[in-house]
Each structure stands twice: as structure tokens, then as C-alpha cells.
Amino acid sequence: MSNDLYDVLVVGTGAGGGTAMKILCEAGLQVCALNSGPRIDPGKDYRGHRQVYDLQYRGYGDPLRLKGKAHQEPYSVEESEYSEGRDLFEHDVAYSNAPGTDWYWKRCKATGGKANFWGRSSARFGDIDFKAADLDGFGENWPVDYAEISPWFSKAERYMGVASTVQNRPSNPDGEYLPPIPWRCIDYIIQKGAEKIGVPYLPDRCAQLTVPHHGHPNCHYCGNCSRGCDVGSFFSPTWFTIPDAEATKNLTLLTNALVRSVIVDENGMAKGVAYVDRVTRKELELYAKVVVLAASCVETAHIMLNSKTRHWPTGIANSSGQLGHNLCEHLYGTPGYGYLPQLLGQPATPDNIADSTVAWMPRWQNLKNPREEKFIRGYSVYMGGGCGEFPGYYGQIEGFGSRFKRDIKRYYATSIGALIQAPTLPSPTNYLDIDPEKKDMFGIPQLRFHFQWGPNELLMWEHSKQVMIDLFSAMGGELWGADVEPNRPGTSLHETGVCRFGNDPKTSVTNKWAQTHEVPNLYICDASIFPSCTDKTTTMPIIAFTMRTCDRMLENFKKGVHKRA
């Protein structure tokens, strides 16, 4: 097996890797994909239709489940008692935080990765994002503009199925959409209030199938999306790209194959990868003409930083010194939560059965004038609420007894909360490197995070708290409170940067096609190429940019730049 030579090796099977192997396999290339954990089985590993009372710990999980693991911190939300029992999340490979850094690195190592459980918000990036440096003078433009990437956004949307409406806002470009998810009571009320304070409240771009789509059934609204869809009614590698790639018979999928480094030939070009089989603990190698790294942003940089040879003393393709730098992330937090008295006592309505954000406040700051606010760029806000799985607002209600119980029911339809999604700016102090001392249980030098919120994103955070005060007042709501601090860095799962793309090999790791400047047969298909974070989520753009990168790679195969194995 380890002597096999493939056309392409794809490291990672998530949003980017899954898409890459689908496109390359469908084009007839022989592809081997390496996934660091086990194969996910939707029937066993997803929530299915289990209710919280079917779980022994009612969702809290066995407190001893991670005993003896190298990294024992539980991953909230994504990892839960529903997925307990199998080793789907990374707790064996530890990482380190530099002093003053508190990065929360949540990793799903099963096939499909975090995209099994993602939030499905799928907005297009626009020129306001790609050319932000032109507008406000900070940082650098992307090497790609909207006109160039737009056809691939369409391709990605057509493949995934995204529900939304046409909104005619250049800062939040429209795409090709399935019918939108119907609005809930809370959406109408929030929208009215938002209008009064000049904030847009519009259907989100949600990758959820409101109608059947290319053989995938429409959503049946069980509300369990974020624990994995049992029938594939939203895009995930497990239901979309992996089966598509396997149908070609051109795919070899290796599981429990933890990639350690990219190995190079005598000229320093990529020759394959070195990996450890987690089950047998054997050190193995695989070879190919082209290597694609799609290990999920920071892990891609980890592998490259650990790929040190005489050609590449600081990591493969890193003459620019940019590898590991420009780490960005979305600042997440709750700038306001409260309730809508209009809905007090209303009977429960099935308004959370889509388990989706339904509508959001896409960036509205600094649109006319890039320096209108005290901060540059801008943020978005998602509003959630309504009749959820647990009456989490009970802490707001005093007392006990029948009146307490009646009030819990009375407030059931009313509670709402905001989630800010604010981009950080690239900063020389936010980066990754290899811990000089610590190694994981497989002997792989650990990744080390250096990251702190900067003043720009903290100004957005404060701004959003004031917006919530205004919004609650405008919509006739009552504000209960707000988080004092934002969530820990890493919480959003939207890390970007660390292998940024650009036209200048001196200041970027890859070219505009996500092909490393110095090692032309090494490509990157994840958010690590994005030179900055935007107010939008990363998954759909990862898929779109991956489609574009793979098309380019296929041209290079055709032109003979890359030879077949």
C-alpha cells in the first residue's frame, strides 16, 4: 500500500478536502484521501431523532469520558453526549497556547470534519471584503476580486443548495438560491425594530434544503442539524462530496491516517506525505504527483511548519516567512439577550425546527464611508430564540412553585439572543508556530497559538452591545443582559489566514490559485489561504475557492505542468 503512487493526495476530507477529492476523482484522477480519524457513520454517530431524555446524562455527558486523554477539554456544542462513544473528536493530539493566549481549538477528526455539524450560513464574500485595503488602507487586498470568484460561488451554491432571497446589497452579494426558510414570529418583530434603527434584518444565506436538491431530500425539520443530518438535507461531505468521489471508483480513502509532514524530492518539490496510522502506530509514507492540504486551516499550517528539510528550513514553501502568520478568527459573543413581551403566553410554535439562524443582520457598518465608525470593516449579527429544546431563560424568573412553572411556559416563545460575528484584523502578534519543546503522543511537535483580540474587534464588540440596547428598545423588547466578555478565541471555528494567498511570493505562501509559490505541486484547499477574515462565514467560500483551485490544477494536468502517476 505504502508503495502506491497516486495522481493526487488529499489531506483532510472536510469542506475543502471533500470537495477537492470529488472534483479530482470525477475528472478521472487517481486520488488517495487521508483522514486523521475514523469514518463517520451517520446512523450511529449523529443524533438521529434521539431526544435529550434518551441520553443517560441528558446531554451533559459522562464527566470521566476524556480521562487519560492528552487534551481533555470538552468541545461544547459540536461534541456532545449524542456523539459520545466513538472517537470522533481530537483529544489525543494536544496543542499549546503561548502565555496570554487562550485559544479553544475544537477539532472533529472523523471524515467530513466539522462540516458534519456546521451552522450552514453561506453568504458570498464581496469586493467590500476582497478590496477592503483599497477602501480603508489597512492590510492588503485579496488577489482575487468578486467578478473573478463569482462563477465559483454560483457553482458552490448550485451544488450545495442554499436557501435565501435576492436582496440587492453589494456588501452582501446575491447568489443562486432555493426558496427561503419561512420567518418566525421573532423574525417579524426583530425586523420591525431593526428597521427603526437603520439595521438590515434579512433572510440568511442558509445551506439547508427547503426543496429536494440533486437527489438529496428536502429538510424534514427535526431541528437536529447541528448534531448531524440523518438524511443529508444540508450540505456535508458525508452526504455530498465523499459519496460523489467514491462513486467514481477513483478514490482510496484512508482513515486514522494522521499526516505528520509533506515529504519532498531532491529538488524540494512535494513527493508525498508521511503519516502515522493511529491504530497500528506504524509510520508510513504515500506518494503522489500532487499534494493537496485541506486539513482545516491551522492544521494545514501545522503540517507545513513540521515539513522541514534542507530545502525548507522553516517549513515547506515558507521563504516568505508568512507561514503561520495572519491568523484571524471571528470574535463571537452575546452582546444582548432578553425577551419579547409581545409573545408572552403564546402557545409554542415550531419555529426552531429548522435549527437555523433563518435571518441575520448582515454587516451594515462602514458601508458608505469606510471610516464612518471608530473601527474599520464591520460585523454581522445572528439572532436566535423562540421555542427551543430547553427553557434556558428560567434563571430570569424568580421563585418556585406553580407560578414559576407557569411563567416558564409563559415566556417560552419570547426569549431571544444575539450572536456577534466580528472579524479580527491580521496582526503580527497573532500567529502560529511550533512549540519548541512539546510533542504529542505520536512524537509530532505541537502547534502553538499566539492570539489575542485586537482593539478593532473589541470596538465592534462594544458597538454591538449598544446596538442591542437600541434594538430591544425599538422592537418593544426587554433586555435581560449581555455577555461581559466575548467567547474565547477559536469558538467560532472560522479561523483563517496562516497560509495566505497573494500575487507576491515575498509576502504570501500561495499564488491566487492556492498553489504554493515555491512548490507548484502543493496546493491548499481550506480557509488558511484567506488573507483576512470577513463578517461572513467560511464554509461556502472554502468550497468555492477549492472548486476554482481544482479546476486550475486539472488544467495544469492537461497542460503537462503536472504529470499523471
Binding site: 451533559y60 476524556l66 419561512p182 414570529c185 425539520y221 427535526c222 403566553g345 426552531n352 418556585f400 416558564i408
Partner: protein
């Protein structure tokens, strides 16, 4: 005594039989049976006993980053439960000269009201109030994670297949400015009929 009824055959894992009875009674006081079943019928005391025995923290201010953190939080919950139940009995002794479970429902109610309502807080009851908050957290979690509890609020997710998402049902009042609370509307209807 009514408190003796239904002690049941459940053998507590963590609490003594007397403590368990008290937990069950407090839970039922917090979420009583009325037009829907209460904490007792929903098995809330068994849930609390299970979680406390297994040191699975339901309500904790601790940041849990490791199994040791989780165990420490679980140990803390165990200690707080034992100390809290003792506190309640000590309080009922000083107020009513008897164990909490031997007090009349009125006495029990007045003791708990002092811990539950800001207007009735006393400066000397801080640890009792902290215990009551924890007891209330465990009870609410224990109740609203059962089918009984979820049915009592009408959790729509109990039904797992919907033909489509219905969205807002108030097409004639999209501003939601004229919605009436069912409770108040039914009483006003009654007045109207009379």
C-alpha cells in the same frame, strides 16, 4: 405525613434515604404537579441523585478544561448538596423547632420563600439561598429534559418530521401588536359571557 407517601423502591446512589426524600420534596415544591405532572412524576430526584453521584456538574461556575476540573466541580456539587440540605434542616429547627420534612406545608413554604424571592431575602441566609439556586437549577434541568417536562411547555421538537416549516402563524397580525395571552383572553371571554 404526606411526605412519607411514595418513597418508592428507588435506592439512591448518593443521598441517604432521608436526604433523597427531602430532595424529592424540594423538587416537587419547585415544579409541582398542577395542570401538568410535577417533578416527582418526572423522576427529577432520581436524575439529581444520578448526576450528583456521578459527579456530573449541572450548574457550575467552574471553567472545565480537564477531567480533574470536572471531578472537582462534581465533588463541589456533592458537598454543596449535603451542606445545603443540612442548612435547610438547621434553619427549620431554628424557625420551627423541627426537621424540614416534619414542618407543615405552610412552614416549608415560608422557609423556601425566604430563599427564593429577593423581597424576602434575609442577610443571614446567603448560603441557604445559594443552595436553593443550585437545587432549582438541578430541578429545572431534570424536569425539562424529560418527555413530561418538554410536553408541559409544548416543545415542538418532540415531533421529528414536519412536512414544511410553518413559520409565523400570525399572518393577520405580523406586527404581533395585538396578540392576547391565552390566560387573559380566556378570563376576559368569561367576563364577556357573564
Amino acid at each position: 405525613m404526606s411526605s412519607q407517601v411514595g418513597a418508592g423502591s428507588y435506592k439512591p446512589l448518593f443521598f441517604s434515604p432521608q436526604q433523597y426524600q427531602m430532595v424529592e420534596h424540594l423538587a416537587e415544591m419547585i415544579i409541582p404537579e398542577d395542570d401538568s405532572p410535577g417533578a416527582k412524576q418526572a423522576g427529577v430526584a432520581e436524575f439529581i441523585d444520578f448526576m450528583v453521584a456521578n459527579r456530573a456538574p449541572v450548574s457550575t461556575s467552574r471553567d472545565i478544561r480537564s477531567t480533574d476540573d470536572a471531578i472537582a466541580a462534581g465533588n463541589e456539587a456533592q458537598n454543596r448538596f449535603l451542606a445545603g440540605l443540612d442548612w435547610i434542616n438547621a434553619r427549620s429547627h431554628s424557625e420551627f423547632k423541627r426537621e424540614f420534612m416534619d414542618c407543615t406545608p405552610e412552614q416549608q413554604n415560608s422557609l423556601v420563600e425566604e430563599l427564593a424571592y429577593k423581597a424576602k431575602f434575609k442577610p443571614t441566609t446567603e448560603s441557604g439561598r445559594a443552595f436553593f439556586q443550585m437545587m432549582r437549577d438541578y430541578t429545572v434541568v431534570g424536569y425539562y429534559t424529560t418527555k413530561i417536562g418538554l410536553q408541559s411547555i409544548g416543545y415542538p421538537g418532540l415531533r421529528t418530521v414536519w412536512p414544511k416549516m410553518p413559520g409565523c402563524p400570525h399572518a393577520d397580525d405580523p406586527e404581533h401588536a395585538h396578540l392576547r395571552e391565552p390566560a387573559s383572553s380566556s378570563s376576559s371571554t368569561q367576563t364577556g359571557r357573564n
